[in-house]
Structure formats: C-alpha cells, structure tokens
Amino acid sequence: MRYQGTNLNLGRYFFYLLSLISIGSYSTVFANEPNLEEITCYECHDSEMDEFYMKGHPLFVNGGQEACSTCHGPVEDHIDDPDVDNILSGNATVAMSKNCLSCHEEAGKSSILKLDHHADLELVNCLDCHDVGHEKVAQPSLLTKPVQQLCTSCHVQQSAEFQMPYTHRDMNEPMACTTCHAVHGAQKGMGIGLDATWAGLSSACMTCHSEKEGPFMFPHAPNELDGCMTCHQPHGSATPFLLTRPQVTQLCLECHGDFLQTHRDPTLGLQSCTQCHAEIHGSQRDPLLFLP
C-alpha cells in the first residue's frame, strides 16, 4: 500500500515529453554538406573519412583538415612522405591523449599536479577507455566497452567486492562505477573522486539516500563526522544493508561500550540496538535516536 500523497507521476510526464520530442524530430532541417574531396587526407583515407563524417567523433562536423590534425598533430610531413612514423598514430596514446585535452580540457589531466592516478596520463590516458572516434561505437561517450568492464579490467579488487551477496546492483549486474565516482577527477562532478577524501561529505551517497543527509536536530556522530563508510561498505558486504558487521549490535558496541546496565537484563527481551534506537542516521525528535 502506498501513501496517498501528491498525484505527481514523474514517469508519465516524462514519457509524454519524450513522445513529443520524437515527433518533433520531423522538424530537423537539412544543412549544407561539406565536400570531403577537398580535404587532402581524403585521397588516401577515403573509407575512414566517410565513416568518420557520418558516424564518428562529432569534431568532424567542423569539417576540413583541421579535424585530422587536431588529434594526429601536424600533417604536413606525413603528406610529403606518407609514412606512419611522420604522424601521431594509434601507438602514441599518451601524445595523442594530450591532443584530446586541447578540446576536453575539463578531463582533469595534469602533468604537474596529478591529484589522483587517473590525472596522470602516463598511468591512464584517454585512449585506455575511449575509442578514437573514427567510426560509430556502441557505447556512449566513445567508450570502448561498458563502464563496468572498463573499470574492473584494472580494479580487480573492487570487482571482487562487488561479488559479495549484498551490493549496489542494477538488477543482476553491479551498479556502474560512474554512478558514484567521477572518473576524470572530482572537479568535474564535484562528487567523490577516485580518492574518496571528501567522503566526509558523503555527497555521492546522498544523491540517492537524501533522507540520510539531514540536517538532524539530534545527529548520530559518525554520520556527521566520518560519513557513511563508518558503518557501511559501499562496494559489497556479506551483510544486509552493506553493513561492516553481521549484527548491528556488534557494530554499535564497538563504539558504545558505556551504555546503561539495564540493557543487559534478559527479561526485557532487548536483542538489537536498532529495535529501539531506530533512527540510527539521526533523529528530528529524540537525542537517543528513538522513533523518527
């Protein structure tokens, strides 16, 4: 039974909007076609450029030789002597990734600061995860594989943690890493970066679990000070609700060793802390975190 609150049905309105937009796609207007044959590269690379123009990296919409040199570097030497060594090609992934940054400067790479290991091109460069964009790829954002496959190819430990019985899942598969982590560095989404030093804010958790954020009249100190991972293992746990201990009472007692003697009276039938202290993330009415 659902609480009969507002009548808003977000999904219904969103589907009406989607329907209108798709019908409105009739109104797209044809534009002038660029003449690929005017571009020198087309003489030798006609098949790649045909595919690139139709389906590839959107940069090519600008047309012209600049689209090639933006990624491959200066092309004059290669035009004079069409040897693969006279131009940046697929093997020079670090050098080509630097050219990606000429447009995608928000990608968070830095040769000096290196705020996390994804920011170091020598460790992780653009082409480790993204396709060059010559042709259309199945994944969004020109990714070479689905997000989870890309991340777990290096982060095998985290992949194993996601195999625990209780974890963040999208149906049968682990939730995409990019749901919580900003892979290009924390600056882009201001969520937790690869190094969750901002976990005290637990901002990524609060995106979905907003009711835990507060502010609470009577907060629970660990939730305020060190964040969600004081008690939860977000990647996976053998325990329901991703707790770090199989019994909530064990978790509570590791900090609260000084509670009332009366809690030990077996006649009271008290087995679990959260049986009474139910609002463990913080309460708006009770300093002992009883009813909500």
Binding site: S153, S159, L201, S210, P292
Partner: protein, 613 residues
C-alpha cells in the same frame, strides 16, 4: 508499476514514427524473464530484486541524420515493464550551440526479513528522479547550463520498536519530494579555467504511521499511531573550481559550500489498549508528543593544490584541505502521557528545551616531492591533519582534538613499456581518540604488477596489506586486512577470455566494555573470502555471439561463512529482417552456514527480441 502498459505502447508508437520515416538508426529490444526457485526466495529478492514478465530491454534511437543541423539527437530507454530499474534519457543539440536534454530513472527497493536481528524489518518503496537541462555552448569563452531536477521517494517501511515492555510493529508510509534548480558556468579557451555552480534545493517529507500486526501474543495492543506532520528542508549549495597550468606551474582550488535549514513541526501519538482484568478492559495508555524546532547547518570544504616543475626530473607539490561544519539547533518539545480509563485518568506532562551547537574543523596539509626520469618515478609525501570537534549545550561545552602525521613513499618502474611495477607504503600516526575504534597507527603496503604482451594477453598481480591498532586503554583495536589479486586476460580475433582470482582476509578485534566494571569481551570479526571468476565471449561466425561467465565465492572466516556460485550464458544471433535474438540462462546458488534457512538456488531463463534499423 508507475507506468501502465497502455502508456508504453503510446510512447513506443510515437518514438517509432520519426526514425521509420527519416530512416535513421535505432534499436529496440523487448524481453521476457521467468524464474525457477528452490529455497529461500526472499533472500534472493533481498539481494537481487528480480521481477518476472515482459520488460523493455533496450531502446536506442539516433535521430540526428548526417544531413541535419543537429550534431546529436539521441533517445534511450530501458527497464520499463517488469524490471526494478527504469531509465530514459534524451539529448539533442549542437556542439557549439544549444543543447537540451533530460533524464528519468526509477528504482524499486524491496526488503523483507523476519530474521533480521530477531526483529522484523520490511521496506517497500521506490525512488523516481526526473531532470531537464538547457545549455548554451556558443560563446567562445563560456558555457552556461541550467538544470531542474525533481526526485520523489515514497512507500512504506516497517520496523519493530520497543513499546510497553515488548516489541511492536510500526509501519511508516512516507513521501519525500525534493526539488533542485541549479545554474552552472564553465569557462573554456582561457588560460585560467573557472567553473561555478549554484543550486537551490528544497526537500519535503510527509509521513503517516500505522500500527503493525502484533509480533507475539500480547494483552496490551498498539491500536493507534499517528504522525500527521511534515519536515521541510531548504539547502542552497555552491560549488566552484579554479585551475591554471603551464609548462612550469600548476594551481587548483575547489570548494563546496552547503547550507541546510530544517524546520520541524511535529505532533505524534501512540495509543495502547491495556488488556483486561476479570473480563473488563483495564484502560488505555496514550503517548502524545509535540515539538517545534529549527536546525541550521553550514558546511564549507575547500581543497587547494600547488605544483611547480623544478627541473625535467623534479616536481614539488603542496596540497591542502580545509573543512568546517557548524550545526545550531533550537528545539522545544512537550511530552504527555495519559493513562487510565473512564472516569479515572492520569496525565503527566514534561516540557524540554534543547539548544546545542556542533562545530567541526579539519585542516590538512601535504607537501610532496616527485622524481621522474625515463621509466622510473619516485614520490615522497608527508602530511599533517588536525581535527577539532566542539559540542556546546546549555549545560556544558566539550572539545576534542585529534591530530595525525602521514608518510607516503611510492615507486613506479616501467620495463620495456609493457611491464609496470608499482610499490607504495603509507603510514599514519594519530593522537587522541574520538571513537573507541579510532586507530593510533595505520600502515598500508601495496604492490601492483601489470604486464601486457604483443601477443594480446594481459596479466595483473596485486597485493595489499593494511594494519590498524590502538592501545588497550582505549579499546585494544587490532585490525588487519590483506588482499591478493591475480588477473589474466587474452584477446583473440574472435573473442576474449578473462580469469580472476581474489583472496581477501580481514580480521578485527575490539575490546568491548560497559560501565561499571563490566566487560562483554572482545568484538571479533573474521572474514576469509576468496573469489574465482571466468568470463569469455566468442563470435560464432559473423552473425552470432556466445558469452559465458561463471564465478565461485566462499568466505571461510568465522563470522559470516557463506558460499555462492553463479553462472550465466548469453547467446545472441541475427535473424532475418534485421532482427536480433538473445537467449540467456542464469543460475545463482547461495549457502549461508550460519542462517541455513536463507539458502537458495535460483535459475532465470529469458529471451530478448531485438530489431535494428
């Protein structure tokens, strides 16, 4: 289900009209899943939230033709129907002009356990979120975006609570609605990068209590419960960043500032009917509660980084972090107990005023020196962290301070460009303790080896060990965790194979104590988890693909011993008229050695019919 099947058909027909006429690209998949179960179905549902029936597997439309003025116009959707997660998204616009988009997602969450901590717990709620954004990227130096978002969480949560000497059940039917409006600015093509985002966030929470069924035979029954009130929260948020880098110098500063203002207006009640005596009802006991208050919280967090290239081999970096959080609470409550029966009633009142302030400040600074030459990189870092927490009430004020020193050494070496070795050691020393489980010393050692060959195979070996401890006078914390990982993958022309082996050991001992002069003994957590996985995918000719994966996990530790096995297979082939047919078979087996009643064996058989156009 929030979306009826009739609306799905209306939307899908509408979505098909455009691409069919304009001959653009798209694909759609409709699927059907069915399950065969043995054992505890509820535990499987708690872990995976499965649903049986027809669902939308995938819908993907590319509506920007090569001859249109739009650089991109895509619509995607999945999961609508009998599926716990539904998503839809659209984006259209031009790279150097206007961009318009939106997204919708809905997740269901169901959890039920009569075993959980000998109490009762059930959740049945869903969360929806819809957002729209409009951006303009046509300026040479600036990109502007405005976004509106609405989220709604509604459903029920049932918990046991301790009433009149016994556990009772209480069901909370709730609805939370959050609205967010944000404006963001981002510079481009400037030597200094700036980004700024300001958001206005409003959250409303309404609730309704209902007594649940009695857990045991009890003469005193909970007959009425109510909380017909709402909480309102107003949370403006600002985020910003500034970055500059040239060949010699790099500076970055970013920050976030969040204000929260929660207005509380409560009126709750619980009523018990107190059994019978000699055949006549004894009476009633009613608890009433009123409260009004406000809690205001300010959070500021800033990170700064400065780096300079001293020479071709040496770089010096300085990182700093400042975090401040202040909460001020004002609260007035009235508590009333009414007990008895007509005409004799006893009424007791208690009024309480609470005013308190929590202040937390954290400051961290970390200088770092990097040496890099050819294929060797060495990094030395030292950090200092100070944290201060103050709690002020009308009666008292207390302050706790905790400091730490951190040392980090990291070495990275490349051999022949395809073999990489990385070693790192980190140590932290802490003073003072806020929680019993705060460590006094933490050590962490990591080894990472990766090797790629031109033959197309890739090997990884990783090891990590971390220890943490504190004195016996605090809690005698002794925590150790080690992880070993081996990964092997090989790519072939027709497919790939990946093998993974992971061993994770975690032991924790914390002494528990209780006043006065009583000890409960140590809290011991022992996990010995190993996990083996195999994943492979092969192209069977030009029109079909077979994917297989299998994994085995087992925890042989003393605390949560369990065993699980999973296997999945997926066969996909292209049929006539651009159809794509996919059959999948999945199997799960779970065995909990402590709670054997939660064991299960589950199998899922499914079929997806797809069409590419």
């Amino acid at each position: 289900m929030a979306i009826t099947s009739k609306r799905i058909w209306i939307a899908m027909i509408s979505l098909f009209l455009a691409p069919l006429v304009l001959a653009q690209e798209g694909q759609i998949q409709i699927g059907y899943d069915t399950y065969y179960e043995q054992g505890d179905v509820q535990t499987f549902q708690n872990q995976y939230h499965p649903q049986e029936g027809i669902y939308l597997g995938k819908l993907k439309l590319d509506l920007a033709s090569e001859r249109s003025k739009l650089d991109f116009f895509t619509i995607s959707a999945s999961g609508f129907g009998n599926h716990p997660q539904q998503r839809a998204q659209f984006q259209l616009g031009n790279k150097d002009g206007w961009e318009f988009g939106g997204s919708y997602q809905r997740r269901e969450f169901n959890f039920y356990s009569p075993y959980y901590e000998t109490g009762h717990r059930s959740d049945d709620w869903d969360r929806e979120e819809a957002s729209l954004y409009l951006a303009f990227n046509g300026f040479d130096k600036l990109k502007i975006q405005i976004e509106a978002k609405r989220s709604k969480r509604e459903g029920t949560m049932t918990r046991s609570f301790f009433g009149l000497g016994l556990p009772y059940l209480l069901t909370n039917q709730f609805e939370e609605v959050g609205d967010e409006l944000s404006l963001s600015l981002k510079t481009k093509n400037l030597p200094v990068r700036l980004w700024l985002e300001h958001s206005l966030i409003d959250l409303k929470n309404q609730r309704k209590w209902t007594p649940g069924p009695s857990l045991i035979e009890d003469p005193d029954s909970l007959t009425q419960a109510g909380s017909p009130t709402s909480d309102n929260r107003d949370t403006p948020r600002t985020r910003f960043g500034i970055a500059f880098e040239n060949d010699r110098l790099a500076i970055e500063l970013k920050g976030i500032k969040v204000s929260g203002d929660m207005q509380i207006d409560r009126a709750d009640y619980l009523q018990y009917d107190l059994g019978t005596a000699y055949g006549d009802p004894i009476g009633q006991m009613q608890f009433r509660y009123w409260a009004q208050g406000e809690t205001v919280r300010e959070k500021d967090s800033y990170e700064g980084a400065f780096g300079v290239k001293l020479s071709d081999s040496f770089k010096l970096r300085l990182r700093s972090h400042y975090h401040r959080r202040v909460s001020e609470n004002d609260f007035l409550e009235l508590f009333q107990l009414t007990t008895g029966s007509d005409p004799f009633w006893l009424v007791l009142d208690q009024e309480r005023l609470d005013r308190s302030t929590w202040t937390q400040k954290t400051t961290r600074i970390m200088p770092e020196l990097e040496y890099e030459r050819r294929k060797t990189q060495l990094v030395l870092a030292w950090g200092k962290n100070e944290r201060q927490i103050t709690h002020d009430t009308v009666e008292h004020s207390s302050t706790v301070e905790r400091e730490s020193d951190t040392l980090k050494i990291q070495l990275r070496q490349r051999f022949q460009d395809r073999l990489k070795l990385k070693l790192s050691y980190q140590q932290g020393d802490f003073t003072e303790f806020i929680f019993n489980t705060d460590p006094e010393k933490v050590d962490r050692t990591k080894v990472d080896l990766s090797w790629q060959t031109e033959g197309g195979w890739n090997m990884q070996a990783k090891a990590m060990r971390e220890t943490a401890e504190n004195p016996q006078a605090i809690a005698g914390l002794d925590r150790e965790q080690t992880q070993y990982t081996l990964g092997y993958s090989r790519s072939f022309e027709a497919g790939f194979i990946h093998l993974g082996l992971n061993q994770y050991d975690f032991q924790s001992i914390v002494n528990l104590g209780m006043e006065p002069n009583a000890e409960l003994g140590p809290s011991i957590f022992d996990s010995d988890f190993r996990f083996l996985s195999v994943t492979t995918q092969w192209n069977l000719g030009e029109r079909s693909t077979l994917a297989l994966s299998s994994s085995y996990g087992e925890d042989q530790g003393a605390t949560t011993p369990f065993r699980q096995f999973r296997a999945s297979s997926r066969l996909q082939f292209e049929g006539p008229a651009k159809t794509v047919h996919t059959f999948h078979l999945d199997f799960w087996s779970y065995s909990n050695r402590v709670l054997e009643e939660t064991d299960y064996d589950m199998m899922r058989i499914g079929y997806l019919l797809g069409w590419r156009f």
